[in-house]
């Protein structure tokens, strides 16, 4: 079993490495390099050559890659092409915001979805179950920005409850911050929870179909007790798996949501970077997002390996 866990860990590290290779390679296809972009029109061959030497762009690609990787690990990411600010300071300002939003979403969405998923699974085919399944079936297929638009229109424009733009100046106290963040958080919770509810319901129903549950029913154990004492404990592995998978989904979800609410987070920084073709910023943000994603997938796999005795046996 530990052998499998180790193997999966090694695969995770390997994947992060390959992802860094791919991200680095994408910048090499680009015609023109960072030196040309930073100097712009008024570049002379001499200044270009000097800046290239300073940035190490005149060295072979594999050495550049090594340099970039070592800088990435030490956190010294160089200057942004557009603003001239250091990338580490840009990211440092933003990453906390994104992490803050994501953690609030997680704290609310996870217990909420597990509870609703369980409630739906308790009486499959019942009224609650039918409502939950059909609402979530609709919501999972809807684009994130539609949820955001509807929320802005009704909650912010018509009712005037929360601001439609989540701009932060850095001087707000916690309540003002939460007020500003209410709509993006609601959007993300709706998007993530609908998926998580469906998967939790399916996971619990899957456990409910096993013979020992039938045994418990035949023994006359009350339904509530069966779900909470027998099914839930055995469904914890799959549920952890589901939670990790959906938090991985959050990595993509924040991109659209931060843009629509102009929230100063990491994803907004990256989208702006793509529009300005500020490759060093895009690279750094992409590395952070993709590593987080791979780590979450790793956790999801670990949960299913550790909870499923059949997967624990090496094949």
């Amino acid at each position: 079993m530990w052998w499998m866990v180790l193997k999966r860990l090694a695969l995770g590290v390997f994947l992060i490495w390959v992802v860094s290779l791919v991200i680095f390679a994408m910048t090499q296809i680009l015609p023109g390099d960072a030196a040309e972009m930073r100097l712009g029109q008024d570049a002379t061959p001499e200044t270009l050559a000097a800046l290239r030497h300073e940035l190490g762009l005149d060295r072979p690609a594999y050495i550049q890659y090594g340099l970039w990787l070592s800088r990435l690990v030490t956190g010294d990411l160089g200057l942004s092409v557009a603003g001239g600010a250091t990338i580490s300071s840009l990211i440092g300002n933003r990453i906390g915001n994104t992490f803050f939003m994501a953690s609030i979403v997680t704290v609310i969405a996870v217990p909420l979805s597990v509870a609703i998923g369980l409630l739906a699974a308790m009486h499959p085919g019942g009224l609650i179950d039918r409502v939950v399944t059909s609402v979530t079936l609709g919501l999972v297929a809807v684009p994130d920005f539609l949820i955001a638009l509807v929320l802005i229109l009704f909650v912010s424009v018509q009712l005037g409850l929360f601001p439609a733009v989540s701009y932060l100046s850095g001087t707000e106290d916690i309540f003002q911050t939460l007020r500003a963040l209410a709509l993006p958080i609601l959007t993300l919770i709706t998007a993530v929870a609908s998926q998580m509810i469906r998967m939790t319901r399916a996971g619990v129903l899957n456990v409910l179909n096993s013979p020992y549950i039938e045994m418990a029913i035949l023994k006359g154990v009350p339904r509530r007790r069966i779900i909470l004492r027998h099914a839930l404990l055995n469904a914890i592995g799959p549920i952890v798996n589901i939670i990790a998978l959906n938090l991985a989904y959050l990595v993509g979800g924040v991109v659209v949501v931060e843009t629509i609410f102009s929230y100063p987070g990491l994803a907004k920084l990256m989208v702006d970077g793509v529009q300005n073709r500020d490759m060093p910023v895009v690279q750094a943000c992409a590395m952070i997002f993709c590593s987080t994603y791979i780590l979450l997938l790793l956790v999801a796999d670990m949960a299913s390996i550790l909870s499923n005795p059949r997967l624990r046996m090496p094949r």
Partner: protein
């Protein structure tokens, strides 16, 4: 052996159990209708639209000039009002069906073409080809799809052919994984063993035994993949990185008219809400049909939506 091959009763015997007829629930039927309407609009939209996608509304029906034609409320002239620079929203939705549905459909077909070809190849060939292809798919799958889109667009820029190839490439990996798993399942079935024992060639086995058995499971997955690709492409357009103006596209229309949202329904909220609803209607409709299809299949494919 009393029945001769010419016996009519014998001839009528089916050589395989009859297929269950595909039955749609009423939601499935309505959804199928919506999908057909959108597909038809994608084909003929530009011809039935009252205005062109880049045409500005300058005067009303009586010939009076508008002071400010932007974000007009819905009227007889412009059914859904006008957008932020005074173009007819209804016409742009009709034009936008072509780009949104067209790009997504082309990308899905591309993903399926390569995904199935590579997946079946990996399943049938096995060995190092299988290992190589599977590892490559795993690398693509370890990117969040929108991240891969952002990185590629940052490096190569955005255009319509680029978007199709990009979305097709990103979603080839999951199709590959499903096709490979299906192929491996079918490869060990008795009828494939029998064909192999008869000495049939590999191509014969793939085209006559494996592909036909894989069609139905793949059909409902096709719907799910199409939803993901529509959401992927319109999210990129929404971020301003997909279809470029003045071309109409549902995702970019939402972005362009975002400023009208603050005016409420009377002044411009419809301009960004309507295209978003157009996308939502299409994806929900596909999802409902897929749900019916997967009930027909006996499995809950909708549970695979990750």
């Amino acid at each position: 052996m009393s029945a001769a091959p010419t016996d009519p009763a014998f001839e009528e015997l089916p050589d395989a159990p009859p297929r269950r007829a595909l039955r749609l629930t009423w939601t499935g039927k309505v959804s199928a209708g919506i999908i057909l309407v959108w597909l038809a609009l994608a084909l003929v939209g530009p011809w039935i639209a009252p205005f062109s996608e880049a045409e500005f509304i300058e005067e009303d029906l009586q010939g009076n000039y508008y002071l400010d034609p932007s974000f007009l409320p819905p009227s007889e002239q412009t059914w859904l009002g006008t957008d932020y620079i005074g173009r007819d929203v209804f016409s742009r939705i009709l034009w936008g069906a072509r780009t949104t549905v067209g790009i997504s459909l082309a990308a899905t077909l591309l993903a399926y073409l390569f995904g199935i070809a590579l997946g079946i190849t990996a399943a049938v060939a096995g060995g190092w080809i299988d290992v190589l292809l599977s590892r490559a798919a795993e690398v693509v799958l370890s990117f969040p799809s929108i991240m891969l889109g952002l990185i590629v667009i940052a490096a190569l820029g955005s255009s319509i052919p680029m978007l199709i190839v990009l979305a097709g490439f990103v979603y080839t990996a999951p199709v590959f994984r499903i096709a490979r798993a299906l192929g491996q399942d079918i490869m060990v079935q008795d009828f494939v063993e029998a064909a192999r024992a008869r000495g049939e060639g590999r191509w014969w086995i793939v085209s006559r035994e494996i592909l036909p058995s894989a069609v139905m499971p793949l059909a409902s997955d096709f719907g799910l993949r199409l939803i993901f690709i529509i959401l992927f492409v319109s999210s990129l357009s929404f971020l301003g990185l997909g279809v470029q103006p003045p071309m109409a596209d549902w995702g970019s229309m939402v972005r362009e008219n975002l400023s009208g949202l603050g005016n409420g329904f009377a002044g411009g909220a419809i301009a960004s809400l309507a295209p978003a609803f157009a996308i939502g209607c299409l994806t929900i409709a596909i999802n409902l049909v897929v749900d019916d299809l997967s009930v027909h299949e006996g499995g809950l494919l909708a549970d695979k939506m990750i």
